[in-house]
Every structure is written in C-alpha cells, then in structure tokens.
C-alpha cells in the first residue's frame, strides 16, 4: 500500500491482481494447513489440537446459531467456520508478512483490498437472497421488500445495498488503516537510531492493536452476515 500501481495481467478479458492472488492463496493455504494439522487423530476424548479446533467450530456455530435458528444452519455452520477462519487469517497475514517489491505489494492482507472484501460481502448477500428464496419462495421473498408498506420498497432496496456496502467496507477500512499506519511507522524508522527505537515500540503496540482489530472484524463480519441471512429467511410482520 505504498501507492504504487499493483502488478496486473489480463486473462480472458479479465484483469487479475497478482498481489491479491498470492495473498489469497497464502491465506487459504494457512487456513487449510491449520485445519488439517488440528484435525488429525480425532478421538472421542479430544487431544490438544482437536480441542482448539472444536472450540473454533463451537464458536462459529454459536455465532451462526444465535441469529439463524433451525435446520438451515447445518450448511451455514461450515460456511460461518470457513468465513471466520479465512477472514481472521487474511486479517493477520499482513501483520506477520508484508512483502513489497519496488512499491508493489505482493504479500499483504487480502482483506485490505476492497475488491476482496466487497466480493465476500457480495457472496454473503447472494447467499442471503438464495436462502431467502429457497425458504420463503419467490413470492414470500420479494413481498418482504414491500413490508411494512408498499412505500418502503425503495428504502428496503437501499438498505439492501447499504448492507452490502458497509459489510465489505467496514472490514476493508479497518484492515487497510491498520496496514497503512504500520507502513507509516516503518517509514518513520528510517530517521535514525533513536527514532528507530521509538518506532519499534510504536510498531509493537500498533501490531498488537491490529491483531485485536483483525479478530474483532472477523467476528463482526460473520455475525453481521448471519444477521443479514436470518433476516432474509424469516417473514417480516
């Protein structure tokens, strides 16, 4: 995020950002490796790794089940777990490893790019619409936009759009600002040995805070997604 143009290439008429792709692949690989390592030797009496994994599963299941009651949440449990793991690892990725080559970031938090977060947000909204139609049927689903009065149609549509926008931009903004400030602190450190020590302490504090922010934002993203989905699968009065 040093302001340089990212390295891109075109394939089948679509533009790809190499930095994003590498970061996403790393995040996916870390999540997969973590889950794979923790899920070996599953036993009835859980060991250390299994306990951690079960705690994570229980945690995300708790988030999803608290807002979405009933039968649909079996698939949604997996969805919430994957989303949470992916976002939290993606948030923390840029704090541990940030590779810039001549101003182009190749490894960073993928969630510090609005394209990634808006895509996740779009997926959530699509899933909400899909589950809403599957649960209530087309008629029930689209009638929800006319409630409580017909005049609420534009407001409801607008709300749908703002939900989509805020869900993605909240995550993006939090992570981007964290990374940006880290970059500025690192830039400050070039000033001299005294400033270097000061910047080191500041960097330490800010990294800790960013870890905190990253975890909170992952939780918030999954929670809000569940809430949006739950609002789509029940009939409004």
């Amino acid at each position: 995020m040093s302001g340089g143009t990212p390295s891109t290439f075109e394939f089948l008429g679509l533009t790809f950002n190499v930095g994003n792709m590498i970061s996403i692949l790393i995040a996916c690989a870390v999540v997969l490796g973590l889950v794979y390592a923790l899920s070996r030797h599953l036993t009835m009496k859980p060991g250390k790794g299994q306990n951690v994994l079960e705690y994570a599963v229980d945690f995300t299941n708790g988030i999803v089940n608290s807002s979405i009651p009933g039968a649909t949440s079996k698939f949604l449990g997996l969805w919430g777990f994957t989303l949470f793991m992916f976002i939290i690892i993606a948030n923390l990725e840029g704090l541990f490893l940030h590779i810039d080559v001549s101003g182009v970031a190749y490894v960073k938090s993928p969630t510090s790019d609005p394209v990634v977060t808006m895509t996740l947000s779009l997926m959530t909204m699509t899933l909400a619409q899909f589950l809403g139609i599957r649960k209530l049927g087309y008629k029930g689903h689209f009638e929800n936009y006319l409630k409580p009065f017909v005049f609420f149609l534009p407001i409801n549509l607008f709300e749908e759009f703002t939900n989509f926008l805020t869900l993605g931009l909240r995550l993006f903004g939090n992570i981007l600002s964290g990374e940006m400030l880290l970059g500025i602190i690192v830039g400050m450190a070039h000033g001299g040995p005294v400033i270097w020590i000061g910047a080191f302490i500041l960097e330490l504090v800010w990294t800790g805070f960013s870890v905190f922010i990253g975890c909170i934002q992952a939780y918030v993203f999954v929670t809000l997604s569940s809430v949006y989905i739950s609002r789509k699968i029940e009939l409004e009065d």
Binding site: N17, Y36, Q50, V57, P114, V115, M118
Partner: protein
Amino acid sequence: MFSYSIVGAQLYVGDMLFVMLSFLVLMWLIKIIAWKPITKMMQNRSDKIASDIDSAKESRTKAAELAATRQAELQKTREDANRIINTAKQNGQQQREKIVEDARNEASNLKSSAEKDIEQQRQEALANSRKDVASLSIEIATKIISKELNADDQKGLVDSYIEGLGKQK
C-alpha cells in the same frame, strides 16, 4: 474494461472470481478434511454423553432398588431368626415342664403302687394267718373230739397237742 473506481482502488473482476473460487474450494476442502469428521465426532460425543447419563440414571435406580430389597430381606431374616429363637425357647420351656410333670407323676404312681403292694401283702398275710388259726382250731377240735374224754386220753391229747405244737414250731 471493468475499471471502475471504488474508493480509489480499481475493480478487478478477475480478482472477484478468484476470491469466490478460492473461498468455495477452501470451504469444500475444509468440509472434506475437517468439518465432516469433527462434527461427526462431536455428535457422537454428545450422543455418548446422553446415553451415559441415561444409563447412569438407570443403574442408580437399580442400585437403589437392590439396596431396598436387601434391606427388606435383612429385616425379614432378622424377624425369622427372632421367631425361631422364641419358638425354641418356648419349646424348651414346655418340654422342661412336661419332663418334670412326667417325673412327678411317675414318682407318685410308684409310690401309690408300692403302698398298694404293701397293703395287699399285709392283707394276704392277715388272711393266711387267719386261715392257719382256723385250721389249727379245727384240727384241735377234731383231735379233741376223736379222743374220748378220759383223763388219760385228755392228757395224752393235750400232750400230743403240745407235742404237735412243738413239732409245728
């Protein structure tokens, strides 16, 4: 072509596809690697815990029942033992009394029969002596009558009689 501006960043449609695809693949892989086994294990565990709780409850009630029956049987056995001891005591008492009674009866029987015997023997002895006296008198009378009443004869008779007496003794 898709180069809109969102908050100062470019919109890369390829990236969007890439994120979606990688997310879906990640979800699928997690499902295969961890989700299915872990949820199955958690389900198994909750089932096992539920059944354990049920069976524990069952065995607790069974144990309570067993203890109750044992207590009741113990009580019953104690009562039985008490009854048996009491009966034995009573039997002993009765038997003792009976034995003493029998002994007393026998003793009195023996005593009375002995008295009767003595009485009888006395009577017999009395009767015998009376008979002897009678026959002696008759004999004497015969002897007196058979001899004529002369002095010599009388004297001889008395002598013979006395002689007879001496002989008899």
